[in-house]
């Protein structure tokens, strides 16, 4: 851990002079102050870890653009924001790519996907074979009795994303049950 009298700027100056320990301390301090910044903007802890690693690599790549003479944090935050924007852009474009057409959902909304002879308990084995997220959503909606909106609030997704995930799970289960 960096000693208290070592500011981030002086750590970077020492790092530029070739002090590897100072550089490691600087990177640790950087990850320490960037973690809450990312946690406030991203729900998933694993995504925060991945992004933090990506930011540290970017800081390492861009270290030549920092001279140790101006404040360090604005420089580090500028890189962190840049990578965060990239991450969010990729995340949302990925979601759009995998999104189900609204018309496809609407066609199935009238289908009695929940009004069936089957109970949650009778197919719980099949439910456990779904992805963890889908299984969690079905458990909350059909076992614990939460609405889609309540599930969305609890697991940090949008209501429509919960409905889409549930819809996909129903389709998988329907195929399994028909077999």
């Amino acid at each position: 851990m960096a000693e208290q009298h070592d500011t981030l700027e002086s750590l970077m100056r020492q790092a530029i002079a070739g002090d590897k320990r100072a550089y490691a301390d600087l990177l640790r301090e950087t990850s320490r102050f960037l973690r809450p910044f990312l946690t406030n903007r991203i729900n998933s802890a694993s995504e925060v870890d991945d992004l933090l690693q990506e930011i540290l690599i970017s800081i390492h790549k861009a270290r030549g653009t920092y001279d140790g003479l101006r404040p360090y944090k604005p420089w580090a935050y500028a890189i962190a924001k840049f990578r965060l924007q990239d991450h969010l852009r990729n995340h949302y474009s990925d979601q759009l790519r995998h999104a189900v057409e609204l018309s496809e959902v609407e066609n199935n909304l009238a289908e009695p996907v929940t009004e069936t002879d089957l109970t949650y308990e009778s197919i719980s084995g099949e439910i456990q074979k779904l992805s963890p997220k889908q299984a969690e959503i079905l458990e909350m909606m059909h076992h614990e009795g939460y609405t889609a909106k309540e599930v969305a609030e609890r697991i940090g997704m949008t209501e429509s994303a919960v409905k889409v995930a549930a819809h996909r799970a129903y389709k998988i289960l329907r195929k399994v049950v028909k077999r």
Binding site: A24, S31, R70, P71, A78
Partner: protein, 211 residues
């Protein structure tokens, strides 16, 4: 957390050399010097307009060239600042081209008002845009190549300003080389394409300055 610690140790022991970037003002001055030499050599090779000495006594022409030169200087410095992730904490310098551009528009407006009776339009048209674009290719490539060595986090903005800087060198060259007095032609075929170039730079910056 263990992954982060492993990464920190790995990065701290990475011996890949990293060249320290020069101060952005120094970087901008280098680009300005290179572009000025390119402009001077090109004018020496292509020749200046025959009436240049007489035109330099025209306040409107002087103001136009001065405003264009200011855009060239301000965009080069702005591009240098935009090559740094935090703009080297010189945000005002990054915004510096705004004032010369406003001044340039005002100068063109007054030049257009003063152009009475209007000077005859030259017979050529798009050839001017093409010449400026071709002339600007080298400084544009040089600026983008230099900027890629750093770490811009404002890639679109940086690309736009870098291309404007290169295009302003081309516009200066053609204005000092070609004997054209029609302000309408100059605005239409020399300066309005600069807006399009700015948009191309907006797109190009995102693609080229990615890191």
């Amino acid at each position: 957390m263990a992954n982060i610690e492993d990464l920190v140790i790995r990065l701290a022991h990475d011996d890949t050399p990293s060249r320290p970037a020069p101060h952005p003002v120094l970087l901008g001055l280098r680009w300005l010097a290179a572009a000025t030499i390119y402009l001077a050599v090109s004018l020496w090779l292509s020749g200046v307009r025959p009436d240049l000495m007489a035109k330099l006594h025209s306040p409107m022409f002087d103001a136009e060239i001065a405003a264009l030169a200011l855009i060239f200087i301000a965009t080069a410095l702005s591009a240098a600042v935009l090559a740094f992730p935090d703009l080297h904490q010189m945000r005002r310098t990054a915004l510096a081209p705004a004032l010369p551009v406003a001044l340039f528009i005002a100068v063109l407006f007054f030049a257009w008002r003063a152009d009475f009776p209007p000077a005859p339009l030259p017979v050529h048209s798009f050839e001017c845009t093409l010449s400026i674009s071709l002339f600007s290719l080298l400084p544009a490539a040089w600026t983008f190549y230099s900027m890629r060595k750093y770490a811009s986090t404002h890639t679109r903005w940086a690309g736009s300003v870098a291309l404007l800087s290169a295009f302003s060198v081309g516009a200066l060259w053609l204005r000092l080389h070609e004997q054209t007095d029609s302000i309408v032609h100059v605005v239409e075929w020399h300066y309005l394409p600069m807006l399009a170039i700015g948009l191309i730079g907006w797109w190009l910056g995102k693609a080229v300055l990615k890191w």
